[in-house]
């Protein structure tokens, strides 16, 4: 078992023929992901990496039965691409693109929600179900199959955490890089219950960062709904207070979004909070041995 994606998931790539799209599609295919085609407007009818290219997402979905789209289009066009995916019956859009305007993502996510399409990202490494399906830009070989679910705001910390878990002789069910932009798709609160319901997942690692209050919300949710052990690391304990111009961001969340505040909230919810990022794997092992 796993969450959201597995070896049978059919994936199309928006921005298939671009430089990054090509490089990472190849890597995903080599990992075993069923990439069944791609979309590049104006290049419909061509073949790329041995797969058909379509002008529209709708055509790609009709011809291939794909349910997931991996999006690599440039930032100025990413909202359009997400909305096209939502309009074409895609169930999950994994948005890798970095630098998407916040306003665009606000509209895109609202439309996706209206159409019942889940999103991951933007500005994220993607999602991987170990040794089955990689939809994103993570180095696949780090993710060995196992029983630990992983949710992370940070791309490279996702790799770091998985690497540590694997070095402890454990492995990963599914790892999701949710991204750290102001507007993101699936977050801790939506992913935690999926891991809770997944038979194979026995522990959950969550990696957070300073800013915003998603981790605080997650802490409350974990306390009430999650029975599996959760191990958390929050990056930015030593980050200096930013030279902000205004105060408005801090007012809304009712918090300043510091690492300490998040770590305290998670600890109070019964989460194993690690202070050193090098102790993630070790702590997962300890938590599992106590079960």
């Amino acid at each position: 078992m796993s969450i959201l994606v597995n070896k049978d998931t059919k994936v199309i790539v928006q921005g298939f023929t671009g430089k990054e799209g090509t490089f990472h599609s190849e890597q995903c295919m080599a990992y075993g992901t069923q990439i069944v085609g791609g979309v590049t407007p104006g290049k419909g009818g061509q073949e790329h990496l041995g797969k058909p290219v379509f002008n529209t997402v709708k055509e790609a979905v009709n011809a291939t039965g794909a349910t997931v789209s991996m999006i690599f289009v440039p930032p100025a066009f990413v909202a359009d691409a997400v909305m096209e995916a939502a309009d074409s019956g895609i169930e999950l859009a994994v948005i890798i693109t970095e630098g998407a305007p916040v306003k665009d993502m606000m509209y895109a996510k609202m439309y996706a929600t209206k159409k019942g399409m889940k999103t991951i990202g933007p500005n994220c490494p993607g999602i991987i179900t170990a040794q089955e399906c990689k939809i994103g830009i993570m180095p696949g070989f780090i993710f060995k199959k196992g029983n630990v679910g992983l949710i992370s705001k940070s791309g490279t910390l996702t790799y770091e955490a998985s690497n540590q878990v694997v070095k402890e002789g454990l492995g990963i069910t599914t790892a999701v890089g949710i991204g750290g932009d102001p507007i993101i798709g699936l977050s801790y609160k939506e992913l935690l219950p999926m891991f809770e319901a997944d038979d194979e997942t026995e522990a959950i690692v969550m990696i957070g960062e300073i800013g915003g209050d998603l981790e605080i919300q997650a802490a409350q949710f974990i306390k009430e709904n999650i029975s599996k052990p959760v191990i958390a690391f929050i990056a930015g304990q030593t980050a200096p207070k930013g030279k902000r111009m205004g105060h408005a961001g801090a007012i809304i969340s009712g918090s300043k979004g510091t690492a300490k505040e998040k770590m305290d909230a998670l600890a109070a919810a019964g989460v194993y909070v690690v202070e050193s990022p090098a102790d993630i794997g070790k702590t997962v092992k300890e938590a599992l041995s106590k079960k």
């Binding site: 180095p139 910390l157 300073i210 690391f233 030593t238 990022p277």
Partner: protein, 390 residues
């Protein structure tokens, strides 16, 4: 990106958000000329820096004569203002804004920002205008009225009424207030702002609402479609090293310690700082070489780190996804040819093409490049090297 008060007010004016009349000046005589043109017998001289808290620091002063305007402007230009938002080093004042005096009857606070919880822009108002709004939020949160505005329906009357009644405005004040708020919403959305703060928003004796102050910040990701905003950028307000870093797609923040860091990804970069501290050292910087790193940007990263004379060792911590480790390895080699790297460099490369990278570094055989096996090992070695114990 942030802009100055006078620039924000220019934008406000263009959108029909009422502001007092005023003009910018770079010298005392210029300030006097602006005041003369404005007319009247009361002016405000305001230091233009990208930080709040100017009033308390002596950056906002009243003048009752043209001579006084000139004198105050002369004094302010060139001075370094230290406010709670500038940091202890303060900010140098290079220009002032001269504004006509206003007949203040009551002060309010009005702001807009993205609310990450509702994922919509939220407008906030408070009767506690002129106060530190953070303090109001902490002590009397009930005095801040918030309304999230769904951008698919835009600003509606009910949004405005919720704020207006919340502020306790009288019947005849409600209409001008709503008009003000609606125009402000349009500014926020049209310009891809991520922050607007008006503190204070004032009601004048004649029942008008005026933005007495104005702060605006913008979504950097959307700047490509706002040439007018890009032109308002004041590089003198930004850290020159950070600006230089940004040219190469690097994100750099200078810190006080002596262990330099070069990392890919903001999360891992922060975690690297955390672990350096955890191992008993102090990070000298935050440096994210980003997803598009190539030999040139990595070499630039070394230059940036080595500009800081406190740096005694450098920890290169790369976990390759998009960034391929062999590119980083080549960058390290190129950097050692371009820049004299006279401190130990502890290198930890893992992920995509890590083997090729290790091979590249090994073949280069450079004395002060030290390999680390993992995060903890790298941090320990970097801290030890900075202390001269490696």
């Amino acid at each position: 990106m942030n802009i100055h008060e006078y620039q924000a007010k220019e934008i406000f004016r263009a959108y029909g958000v009422p502001v007092p009349r005023g003009g910018v000046a770079f010298s005392g005589p210029e300030a006097r000329k602006v005041a003369e043109e404005l007319g009247g017998n009361l002016w405000v001289v305001k230091a233009q820096i990208h930080a709040g808290g100017r009033g308390k620091a002596g950056g906002v002063k009243l003048a009752k004569s043209l001579e006084e305007v000139e004198k105050l402007a002369e004094e302010m230009i060139g001075m370094t203002l230290v406010t709670h938002q500038t940091g202890p080093e303060g900010k140098k004042v290079e220009k002032v804004y001269i504004e006509e005096g206003a007949d203040i009857q009551k002060e309010y606070y009005l702001g807009m920002v993205l609310d990450r919880t509702t994922e919509m822009p939220v407008m906030m108002a408070s009767t506690e205008g002129g106060m530190e709004i953070e303090e109001v939020a902490a002590k009397t949160p009930e005095k801040i009225i918030k309304v999230a505005i769904d951008p698919t329906i835009g600003f509606q009357g009910f949004h405005g009424r919720k704020l207006a009644f919340g502020l306790g405005l009288s019947k005849e004040e409600i209409r001008p207030f709503i008009k003000f708020a609606e125009a402000l919403y349009k500014v926020y959305m049209d310009k891809d702002a991520n922050l607007i703060e008006i503190n204070p928003l004032i009601k004048t004796g004649s029942g008008e609402f005026l933005a007495l102050d104005a702060k605006m910040g913008f979504d950097d990701n959307a700047l490509y479609r706002h040439q007018d905003i890009i032109e308002m950028r004041d590089l003198s307000e930004e850290d020159p090293v950070e600006v230089e870093a940004a040219k190469y797609g690097l994100s750099y923040v200078n810190l006080d310690g002596n262990v330099g860091c070069m990392v890919n990804g903001a999360g891992l970069a922060m975690a690297t700082m955390d672990i350096i501290k955890h191992e008993g050292g102090e990070p000298a910087n935050f440096l994210d070489v980003g997803g598009g790193a190539n030999p040139d940007t990595v070499a630039k990263g070394f230059e940036l780190i080595l500009q800081d004379e406190n740096v005694k060792s450098i920890f290169v911590n790369i976990f390759g996804g998009i960034v391929r480790c062999d590119r980083i390895a080549n960058g390290i080699l190129q950097a050692t040819q371009k820049v004299e790297v006279n401190v130990p460099v502890i290198v930890r490369l893992d992920g995509t093409n890590a083997k090729e990278a290790a091979e590249i570094l090994k073949n280069a055989n450079i004395e002060n490049i030290i390999a680390a096996t993992d995060l903890a090992d790298g941090a320990k070695k970097a801290v030890a090297a900075a202390k001269g114990e490696l």
